[in-house]
């Protein structure tokens, strides 16, 4: 070691460090910043094109209706299953929420408004059965899922508006309930977009 940092070579070796660092900097920008992501993109597009392009969902006519991973806003239509609260109204060019702290008075006000709205539109289901997941804002504002319970409590309202019998809606929800992965990981859930799509196609048929 003492041979490399001898007195006389100190200045030269310092310049050498800078020179190596510069070359390493440029090389790793190319290697990690361009080669790696572009090769990954190529491989991904080749092997998994559907997933790599956003898992787009088509209806039976082949029309793209969105991505199965990204939630959509249904809150204006009482005849559709509603997703969770989204402060960005599922505008997926961005993402986010209001980040209300648990002690924030605005959070309580928003929840109370949701409850009042629920009572007005769902007289058959008491507020005590309204699941918390349905009236809380997801982290992303784009959550595509609701809990199965959140889907079931909406059935009486939807049945009244659309005329589809409640039993049929219930079996539709059961059909679209996704289980925990490997029976263990994650949560049971319902994809709102897929469920509404299935309901519309059922009506059409």
């Amino acid at each position: 070691m003492s041979t490399t940092v001898q007195e006389g070579t100190e200045g030269r070796s310092r310049a050498e460090v800078v020179w190596i660092a510069l070359r390493a900097g440029v090389l790793f920008i190319v290697l990690c910043g361009l080669v790696y992501p572009l090769v990954s993109t190529g491989l991904a597009q080749l092997v998994f094109p559907h997933q790599a392009n956003g898992s787009l969902l088509k209806d039976s006519d082949g029309r793209i209706v969105g991505s199965e991973l990204i939630g959509q806003s249904f809150s204006a239509d009482p005849g559709a299953f509603h997703g969770r609260v989204s402060s960005i109204d599922y505008m997926a060019e961005a993402s986010g929420s209001n980040n209300f702290a648990p002690s924030n008075p605005d959070l309580i006000a928003r929840m109370e408004a949701s409850i009042a709205d629920w009572q007005a539109n769902n007289p058959d289901i008491p507020v005590s059965e309204l699941p918390i997941a349905l009236i809380t804002n997801s982290g992303s504002g784009l959550d595509p899922h609701i809990t199965p319970q959140s889907a079931f409590v909406q059935i009486p309202r939807i049945s009244k508006v659309t005329g589809i019998p409640e039993v049929e809606l219930a079996s539709l929800v059961n059909e679209h309930t996704e289980k925990r992965e490997w029976g263990i990981f994650g949560e049971t859930r319902v994809n709102v977009l897929k469920l509404n799509l299935a309901m519309i196609e059922k009506q059409r048929a």
């Binding site: 070691m1 310092r14 986010g96 008075p105 309204l130």
Partner: protein, 559 residues
């Protein structure tokens, strides 16, 4: 089922950590091995291209200098790219150049492995800068951290004047650890529905006939290194809560294990260097015990929910779901939160600002301690520094010169260790206090009351610990926050690393003292508890008052 899935993930981690640590020892011990044949072919041209002729060992000063100069070069080049991004290729969405203070903050943030983000990826970066700046720095900052950790471990476990060659370590960390692992994880993530494309934002007509624009891009390649390198900066604003970044429970577990396994493997690498498997278990179990306590608090707090919402009359039995995603639920969110702030990754799959007071205190305290696994090498270094401190305190109590791994601990080392340990609370508490007397800082607080104190505190803790998660309600893209957190991240990273390299350099030069019957043992369960005690003691002395003002006060008001 909640407990089962958490236990399985922890079990997998314990299985992975030891063999991975031994592999890392093979990478950084520089002894000839089979892995040379596997990777030598691509390393030779890299060494030639960067002009590294001989890979001779460096003194601690030269090692630190090489590390700093390399980081500085990357900062300078990255800053230029961010400022010129609108005119560079791969900008299909027409993103403008980044503003000066924001670009400065961003570049420091990514070089220091912090990944605090004051921009939102969808609107702030082009595909080119997402790749050539952000993804690139996720590799290089993690490799820098790993190299420094390897040098530190060599210093405290070997004799001589050198800590290894920085450039050799830096290249090997890429070729033998991060690049191969990242490529594999990327493809697995894509298979599990994480997008990877250069197409611009999608426009679709929704089921209701409205138009929805969906931001997309080369997400998976960033996502894998974001976790493997314990970086944490998301492609999208909401990070791993975004369904494209983290579409299901399996990707969630892969991301948790990706960010956790390398930091958890480092104690075992250290054990091999110290030629003592027991030393490895002492450090690993101290980290794991602390982790389990924090996980229990976070899970219980989130599962019990927000008292104010529990009393509102709805069915709140699921727990605190504000800011969380249905596909992860409480268990997947609490585990992710505890791991991301333990491993100082800073990615989030739920919004930490919306956590219940005690649930939100867990990430805060983990970052304050900064030793519960810890990211990219720094966690192990911090824990070893605390180990030396524990030896010192015990030595004082029995009136013996303290020794660690056969080396006497003397005033020079203790001074450096004091600097490394005290810098952390100082760069957190001083700017936090300053913020409360300035309108520039106060104006950014979005949640009033005690939670507002926590928001400010969290931002600086996250910056100082090089974590990068945030209480994201804070409106932090202002020159005040960009510059102040930029400085905190800078000092948080470099002061402690340089002090620790100096300690390593000084220990490496010492005479070894033979082990006798009177030598204080550092490889048994007693020492594990002394170590935990030292960490908790120092942490409590420095941070308890400010915790009482923030999360604890909020907890008491809404209880």
């Amino acid at each position: 089922m909640d407990i089962l899935q958490i236990v399985i993930v922890i079990g997998l981690l314990v299985l992975i950590a030891r063999p991975l640590g031994h592999y890392m020892h093979r990478v950084f011990s520089n002894e000839p091995s089979r892995t040379d044949r596997l990777f030598g072919w691509c390393e030779k041209p890299i060494f030639a291209l960067i002009g590294l002729k001989q890979r001779t060992g460096m003194s601690w000063k030269r090692y630190a200098c090489s590390f700093l100069v390399t980081n500085f070069v990357l900062v300078a080049l990255g800053y230029i790219l961010l400022r010129l991004q609108s005119g560079l290729p791969l900008n299909p969405n027409g993103i403008p150049n980044m503003e000066t203070t924001l670009a400065l903050n961003t570049i420091i943030s990514f070089m220091t492995n912090t990944n605090l983000q004051h921009y939102s990826g969808e609107s702030g970066l082009t595909y080119f800068t997402q790749m050539a700046v952000i993804t690139m720095m996720m590799f290089t900052s993690a490799a820098s951290g790993f190299s420094v950790a390897a040098a530190f471990v060599r210093g405290i476990t070997s004799k001589g004047n050198t800590l290894g060659n920085f450039f050799e370590d830096f290249v090997k960390a890429h070729t033998r650890i991060f690049l191969p692992l990242a490529t594999i994880v990327t493809l697995v993530l894509v298979a599990l529905q994480v997008p990877q494309t250069l197409d611009p934002t999608l426009t679709v007509t929704t089921l209701q006939g409205a138009t929805q624009q969906i931001a997309i891009g080369p997400v998976a390649s960033l996502e894998s290194i974001k976790h493997l390198g314990t970086n944490g900066g998301g492609f999208f604003g909401v990070n791993s809560a975004h369904p494209f970044e983290n579409p299901n429970a399996m990707t969630n577990i892969i991301q948790i294990l990706s960010m956790w396994s390398l930091p958890a493997a480092l104690p075992f690498m250290y054990g091999r260097f110290a030629k003592s498997g027991k030393q490895a278990w002492v450090i690993f179990s101290a980290m794991m015990l602390l982790f389990l306590v924090f996980l229990t608090v976070a899970y219980t707090a989130e599962r019990s929910g927000n008292p104010l919402l529990n009393d509102i009359g709805i069915d709140a039995s699921q727990g605190s779901m504000e800011g969380k995603e249905v596909r992860f639920g409480i268990a997947g969110s609490a585990l992710f939160t505890t791991v991301t702030t333990a491993a100082t990754t800073g990615s989030v799959n739920n919004m930490h600002d919306t956590l219940t007071p005690l649930g939100g205190m867990v990430p805060l305290v983990e970052m304050m301690l900064n030793v519960v696994f810890g990211g990219k090498g720094v966690g192990l270094m911090n824990m070893l520094i605390y180990a030396i401190l524990a030896v010192f305190i015990c030595g004082l109590m029995v009136g013996r010169t303290p020794e660690f791994l056969g080396r006497k601990i003397e005033p020079r080392e203790m001074k450096l260790i004091a600097i490394a340990i005290l810098a952390h609370p100082f760069i957190i508490l001083a700017p936090t206090a300053l913020t409360f007397v300035s309108d520039l800082g106060m104006g950014s607080i979005s949640n009033s009351g005690f939670h507002g104190i926590t928001q400010v505190l969290y931002e600086y803790v996250s910056a100082a610990a090089n974590n990068g998660s945030g209480f994201e309600g804070l409106a932090d893209n202002t020159p005040f926050w960009n510059i102040s957190t930029g400085l905190v991240m800078f000092f948080g990273r470099y002061i402690s690393i340089i002090a620790m390299l100096a300690v390593a350099g000084s220990l490496a030069r010492k005479q070894w003292v033979p082990e006798t019957i009177g030598t204080f043992r550092t490889d048994n369960a007693l020492f594990t508890f002394l170590l935990i005690g030292t960490v908790v003691l120092i942490g409590a002395l420095t941070f308890l008052p400010v915790l009482a003002l923030g999360p604890i006060a909020e907890y008491l008001t809404i209880r």
